[in-house]
């Protein structure tokens, strides 16, 4: 035991002698966060689910075959023949849903705590990009089992792109690789799902984390403004006065430990979900048989329902405009206050938006 420990220490010393690992790790970990910050670990859990997705996705990619002839069979093979294949695929599918849920929770937390306000505008913008990439993961991954549900949900989902004025038709063909969902659609969705999106997500996530590290967590009790921000914003470079020290919590090990506990809880939730409700598979995709009720995944239901009740152009333009408004929120919201009671318009708008989206989703589910 002692020999092994010394070996670890020797490796550590070897690295330290060349790369100053200690100082680097201290720079990364030995930061402090305000005790008043309430993250609920939403962002960290989203990161956890992303890592789960990466690991299980790589394992699935080993067996998955991205052609219409083989895709469905390869999924069946994974579920029935591969050791723990059912577990890996079920975790991948459940984790995907939980990742989107926690991504949205994280966004709502940041919105209602006004953490997007200066100086963290870009962190918000990058975070919204991460949400869009996550939805992209969901959309492209949903087709891969190549069953009826996947095929027709993708057909309907991509059809929405065709409603865009001017570029709709070209965008539809670009998305599908043709006028209908075919083998070309499957191969480009697969390529996007396992190459383009992971690389893009990793890059944007790195920027998100660097910005977070540089600026630290926002204190929801702070006052936003150039004159007050330096006093309350906490980060490795923050110059907090001694009187504020009691309001700080070490990121490592205290906060990291809390994060780990949250991750373990969600790991248990994942295991319970996949054991009780392993992911199923519908009939093999059949382009000639349209199912009676085609609905997208739950996170696109509100767009789907909205699309049904308004003209096509409106149905596709409103979500796009909504996305841009969300992306540019920090630059549109000029209210300098962070406390909810000082920004009633934003809070009411946020609550109404959430209620409308939930209502449309339920409507879409029941319709």
């Amino acid at each position: 035991m002692g020999a092994r420990k010394s070996m670890v220490l020797r490796v550590w010393d070897w690295l330290e002698g060349r790369y100053q690992v200690r100082s680097m790790m201290e720079g990364l970990l030995h930061v402090e966060i305000p005790r008043t910050a309430r993250t609920y670990y939403f962002g960290g859990l989203t990161l956890f689910f992303f890592m789960v997705q990466a690991i299980t996705g790589i394992l699935l990619a080993i067996y998955y075959q991205p052609t219409p002839e083989a895709a469905y069979g390869s999924i069946l093979f994974i579920m029935n023949q591969v050791n723990f294949g059912w577990l890996i695929r079920s975790i991948h599918a459940w984790s995907a849903n939980l990742m989107i849920i926690y991504c949205v929770f994280h966004l709502l937390r940041v919105f209602f705590q006004a953490a997007y306000k200066p100086p963290r505008e870009l962190t918000w913008v990058v975070g919204v990009l991460l949400l869009l990439l996550t939805l992209g993961f969901g959309f492209t991954g949903y087709l891969l089992p190549w069953d009826q549900r996947a095929y027709w949900a993708t057909t309907v989902g991509s059809e929405a792109a065709g409603a865009l004025p001017l570029v709709g038709e070209k965008l539809l063909v670009f998305l599908r690789g043709g006028t209908t969902v075919t083998a070309r659609t499957l191969s480009r969705f697969f390529g996007t799902h396992v190459l383009v999106l992971p690389l893009a997500f990793a890059g944007v996530l790195l920027v998100h984390l660097v910005l977070l590290h540089v600026q630290g967590l926002a204190d929801p009790t702070r006052k936003v403004g150039a004159e007050t921000a330096p006093e309350t914003d906490i980060g490795p470079t923050a110059k907090a006065g001694p009187q504020k020290r009691g309001g700080l919590l070490p990121f490592f090990p205290n906060y990291v430990l809390d994060e780990f506990i949250a991750w373990y809880v969600m790991l248990a939730v994942l295991i319970i979900l996949v054991s009780l409700r392993p992911v199923g598979l519908a009939e093999p995709a059949d382009p000639l048989v349209t199912p009676e009720h085609i609905k997208p995944e739950w996170y696109f239901l509100f767009v789907y329902q909205f699309f049904k009740v308004v003209p096509r152009v409106v149905g596709v333009l409103v979500p796009i405009i909504g996305g841009f408004l969300l992306l540019l929120l920090p630059f549109l919201d000029r209210n300098p206050h962070a406390e909810p009671r000082r920004r009633p318009f934003a809070i009411i708008a946020g609550v109404v938006t959430v209620i409308v989206i939930v209502a449309f989703s339920i409507w879409g589910l029941l319709s």
Binding site: N254, L257, I272, S275
Partner: protein, 582 residues
């Protein structure tokens, strides 16, 4: 005993034998009457002498058990038999007696009915939709021959007792001289104006309504305007000019002229090609009972107008159209359920009510399952009772092809007209969901209504019932096991796929039972049962696997819980250290 005495006794015995035998000999001579009629074509003596048909002397009771081939051992043709005038001797019944037990239903006039040379004329046309023979033959509608005067008093239900459908390929029908197609109404053309609509729209009431109806129609969409059906000048600005006979104005077309009016466009191949529409509706209509009756001056029958509408004519595949697949039963019923309208024709009026409750009606009208037939599927659309449907089995078989194939191989089909058809067991309009009770029960449409349980056919029915119900039970058991596994979230698509194979075997067996060959059915039943057993085993294994996964889940969650507790303790320690520092 001397030799002389022996001779005397022998002579006495011989005389005694002759005396004793002579009465019986003479009696035999008396009870073997000569055959008083020619024998040609009358080889089967018992056909007449069994029952005494036509006044033939019946077989004496002491002749019971004797067969046709020994009659002439005693009864010899009378020497003068060939000379007896045929008319003075009752003719043998020249046809089978089945379904003809009541001679007087045909032979209403005294004396035998003269039978044309070669027998009664065969029915040269299909019978589907033409069950009411007198509807045409009473008055000689179309080219139908009129019922002869000596057939007076006979009803439609006995015609087939003598007149059989032609079993041979129908003789080529003489090709009628080509009839020129009707030509459209000649009227002045108007480019981009329709003063008919302009004027009628201002008149209000039904005048305005017809303009609105027309504007919604496919005709308006295709630029077929008022003048194309009514004539007149659609560019004229005065009523007199617009509705001038010189401009081809005909006003309201007479009912008898409507088919030809529509056909002036719809029978024109070159005109209809662009719309991908058929052009044989007019020809079919003229051959249909509707068309035939219309031509005979019967204005009660339907024409194009009655089914498709007048002004608001919609495409047949428009769900709002009266002739849309699921709307057409109601459309047919609008006339055929009208008792007053149907009374003169002696046609039943309950077809729609029966159809509405049938498996076909419920599938089409309730479930919008367009695979289900409507009236037109069996009767045809424009040409009611389309040619080529020799019997109802063919009509049903146009959809139920496999069942028809099996049926044609079975003894029911071999029995010809006397055998049961599809409708005998399943009904005609009120086709119900068939189930295995058909094999056992004794009410109408069930096997037991014709066959007793202890008869050979009755035993076949019982065997079919046993086989099919046992396979269905095995299938149900397997399906329940699959559902159990599915309910636990297990992926059972392969088991479901195999289960469908088992179901296919059972469905095929249900079709194959129309052969009444238990060996064929049992083969399919055995296959279905084997697959169902295999699926049940596999599904049960999935249930066991699910239980194992859940046990493992509990182990994993407990391990995680222990880790979490350890981390919480570590955190508590950190908090204490921090508190101690401060």
């Amino acid at each position: 005993m001397s030799q002389r005495t022996v001779c005397r006794l022998s002579l006495l015995l011989a005389v005694l034998v002759v005396v004793l035998l002579s009465p019986s000999f003479s009696a035999a001579q008396e009870t073997s009457p000569a055959i008083p009629h020619p024998l040609e074509g009358r080889d089967l003596c018992l056909d007449c002498h069994e029952t005494g048909v036509g006044g033939a002397p019946t077989r004496p009771e002491d002749h019971v058990g004797r067969t046709n081939d020994i009659c002439r051992a005693c009864h010899q043709p009378a020497p003068e038999a060939g000379a007896i005038p045929a008319a003075s001797v009752p003719l043998p019944v020249p046809h089978p007696l089945e379904r003809r037990e009541n001679c007087l239903s045909c032979h209403v006039a005294p004396g035998p009915t003269a039978i044309p040379v070669g027998g009664p004329p065969v029915i040269p046309h299909p019978l589907i939709g033409r069950e009411n023979c007198l509807a045409c033959h009473q008055d000689g509608i179309g080219e139908a021959p009129r019922v002869p005067d000596d057939h007076a008093g006979r009803t439609s239900d006995i015609c087939q007792a003598c007149h059989q459908p032609s079993q041979l390929p129908a003789a080529p029908t003489p090709v009628p001289p080509t009839e020129p197609l009707p030509t459209p109404i000649v009227h002045p053309k108007a480019q981009g104006v329709n003063t008919c609509v302009d004027c009628h729209a201002t008149l209000g009431g039904k005048h305005a309504n017809i303009t609105v109806e027309w504007q919604r129609s496919i005709h308006a969409e295709r630029d077929v305007s008022c003048a194309d059906c009514h004539g007149g000048d659609p560019s004229a600005t005065t009523v007199d000019a617009a509705m001038s006979p010189a401009a081809g104005y005909i006003g309201l077309p007479a009912k008898v002229d409507i088919p030809a009016l529509c056909a002036s466009c719809h029978a024109d191949v070159s005109l209809m090609r662009q719309y991908d529409l058929p052009t044989d509706q007019y020809a079919k209509y003229k051959e249909s009972i509707h068309g035939i009756r219309l031509a005979a001056g019967d204005n009660n029958v339907t024409t194009c107008f009655d089914c498709h509408g007048g002004h608001q004519i919609l495409k047949a595949n428009d769900p709002a159209s009266t002739v849309y697949r699921s709307n057409s039963p109601q459309l047919c019923a609008s006339c055929h359920s009208d008792k007053a309208l149907m009374a003169p024709y002696g046609i039943a009026t309950d077809q729609f009510d029966l159809y509405r409750k049938s498996v076909h009606g419920r599938a089409l009208l309730d479930n919008q399952d367009f695979r289900a037939p409507n009236c037109a599927t069996c009767h045809g659309t424009h040409g009611a009772a389309p040619p080529g449907f020799q019997e109802v089995a063919n009509v049903c078989g146009s959809c139920h092809t496999a069942t028809q194939d099996y049926y044609l191989k079975g003894p029911h089909a071999s029995a010809g007209l006397a055998g049961p058809k599809c409708i005998t067991c399943h009904g005609r309009y009120d086709v119900s969901e068939p189930d295995e009770s058909l094999y056992l029960e004794t009410e109408a449409r069930h096997c037991g209504s014709c066959h007793t349980p202890d008869s050979q056919p009755g035993q076949v029915a019982q065997a079919l019932y046993d086989d099919i119900t046992s396979a269905a039970a095995a299938y149900d058991k397997a399906e329940a096991a699959v559902q159990r596994a599915k309910g636990l979230g297990m992926l059972v698509s392969s088991q479901e796929s195999r289960l469908r194979e088992a179901n296919t075997e059972i469905i095929t067996a249900r079709a194959a039972q129309h052969t009444l060959d238990t060996a064929i059915v049992r083969k399919k039943i055995d296959d279905a049962t084997a697959i169902a057993g295999e699926v049940e085993t596999s599904a049960d294994a999935a249930v066991v696997e699910s239980a194992f996964r859940r046990r493992m889940m509990i182990v994993a969650v407990m391990a995680i819980a222990v880790t979490i507790v350890a981390l919480l303790l570590l955190r508590r320690q950190l908090d204490r250290q921090a508190a101690a520092k401060s």
